[in-house]
Symmetry: C2
Subunit: 319 residues, 2 copies
């Protein structure tokens, strides 16, 4: 393999992690499940030009590739355990590998998740990660649990990643410091793992916002067979986005994509518990609407007027 | 997404499988581990032109993509449980998807393994599968357990896949029926899952032969810190390969690649048990050498003469 020996140097670490009998180095990894826990699994594949731009720094790409997977574990309230990385590279460049692996492992270490398997091959750049986590039996947050009367919440802020993309597309421009801020939101999303775990037994449903609030909340509505009203003028956003024209602000917040925040529902009697989960995980949470029995999603402005539905789900870099 | 709705039609099936609380359709799959079992995990990424040729039929490609992963579970003696599929496609073609999914699910159903998560995206063709299996705590077959004095065995036959590749490369030619036979070995490998499970508690080490016998046996020697003597003129091969010139036959058997047979070691007192495992799993097994304390691999011909080591590990379609 030659050049691919280089790759090993950046990805193989000592398998001294708790619960890992065998990490990288055999045909399979061997893990010890925690008694009483169920296993949660998710996989995401990132392709250049579609899920990330060629301008992204390798360190941020390594971070983001794992972050979008951790975000799926977060949405289910899982505790991260292990992940595998399959990587196709046009060529093995030491600088790129050093940056990518540093970004990935820094985030992995912050969440106590271990790389236990991998495959590297020559080919068009493609990053495929599978994450595994655990949650006590029956406590995983699913999309199907929302009930009429539940509150709807979102974590953090929405829309900055989309705003950065618009700058890259050349459709708007921002002062340098503002651009750096929103670019960071796009390239370095922080998966809401601690919040997800704190919401076990509190939230009735959850999903992560990867394709835009409307599209992902739509998954909850569909799987739960309910509708919702959304107060779109109180959606949390950064000062940078708040200063943009209303139409752009709404577009970015509602159909932005790449937010990696959690949108979740909880019964009104859980409001204090939601607040505690927010504080415990040091993650801001905003109540943005309510689940209703009538099917469909209604967007309401600050006067309570229903707006026409003109936003479609974000499809990464397709357009 | 439009065209990618088509993909769902071929990959999403009812999550009515035992032990699967949630399959495809949420942020994560949710699985129930079997008490007392450890989890075994492996991942493989297949890229066109490197791991398969563009001439392969979609149904065979679907089979092979899962087969090479099941072979890793087989090498560890694991019982298959679940897998995820991440798939990048230049475009969604109904005929291709129908064939690919049929080949994949036919093999999956034969081994009782369930597709529990997936991601599809537009991009250069790339197939990334992660498999998960179980084995009773402490019984997983590892590469590190070989001891001096152990016998070395291999399952099935070696070299046909490499012989087929040589035909594709144009370096040799074969009559049509013979070509179809060896092409089938290359495109439709049968993972030795039942044999692997039957060898738990019998074999001292195991590995699957994906990069050629010498290279993969080398992994056992390295991880076990031992050497070996290999009787290369008794290596099991098909009648088609047996009829080839000695040099080609040896090259294909020893450094062929893409065999997906198991090479394993067991103490001499386990010979009857190995035979039972072979019968129980209806998988032929041949004793091909012995583990020795002295480092290095010695290739012996039928007169017991040591041959010069002139074979290197196979690196798929690199050359």
């Amino acid at each position: 393999m030659g050049e691919f020996d280089l790759i090993k140097r950046f990805f193989v670490r000592e398998p001294s992690q708790a619960g890992v009998v065998m990490g990288i180095g055999d045909d399979c990894a061997v893990l010890v499940p925690t008694p009483g826990m169920q296993w949660l699994i998710s996989t995401d594949m990132l392709v250049e030009g579609r899920h990330f731009l060629s301008t992204v720094a390798p360190e941020r790409l390594g971070h983001k590739a794992l972050a979008v997977n951790l975000s799926d574990l977060a949405a289910c309230g899982a505790t991260p355990r292990a992940f595998t990385l399959a990587l196709a590279l046009p060529r093995a460049e030491e600088g790129w590998l050093a940056g990518f692996s540093k970004g990935m492992f820094t985030l992995a270490d912050a969440h106590g998740i271990h790389l236990v398997g991998g495959d590297t091959t020559q080919g068009p750049l493609n990053i495929s990660i599978t994450v595994m986590g655990e949650a006590p039996a029956g406590t995983a947050l699913l999309r199907s649990g929302a009930r009429a009367g539940d509150d709807i919440y979102v974590s953090g802020q929405l829309g900055d990643a989309r705003l950065a993309l618009e700058v890259f597309r050349g459709s708007i421009s921002l002062p340098g410091a503002q651009f750096e801020q929103v670019r960071r939101a796009m390239e370095c999303p922080q998966p809401r793992v601690a919040l997800g775990q704190a919401l076990r037994g509190v939230a009735s449903s959850a999903v992560d916002v990867s394709d835009g609030l409307i599209g992902d909340l739509g998954h909850i509505l569909q799987r739960s067979a309910v509708g919702a009203g959304l107060d779109i003028d109180i959606l949390p956003c950064s000062a940078v986005l708040a200063a943009q024209p209303q139409a752009l602000r709404r577009e970015c917040s509602l159909a932005g994509g790449d937010d990696y925040e959690l949108v979740f529902t909880a019964a009104p009697e859980q409001r204090a518990a939601v607040q505690r989960a927010s504080e415990q995980s040091a993650t801001p949470v905003t109540r943005i609407g309510r689940i209703e029995a009538a099917a469909g999603l209604r967007l309401l402005d600050q006067e309570g007027q229903v707006l026409p539905q003109q936003f479609s789900s974000f499809d990464h870099f397709k357009s």
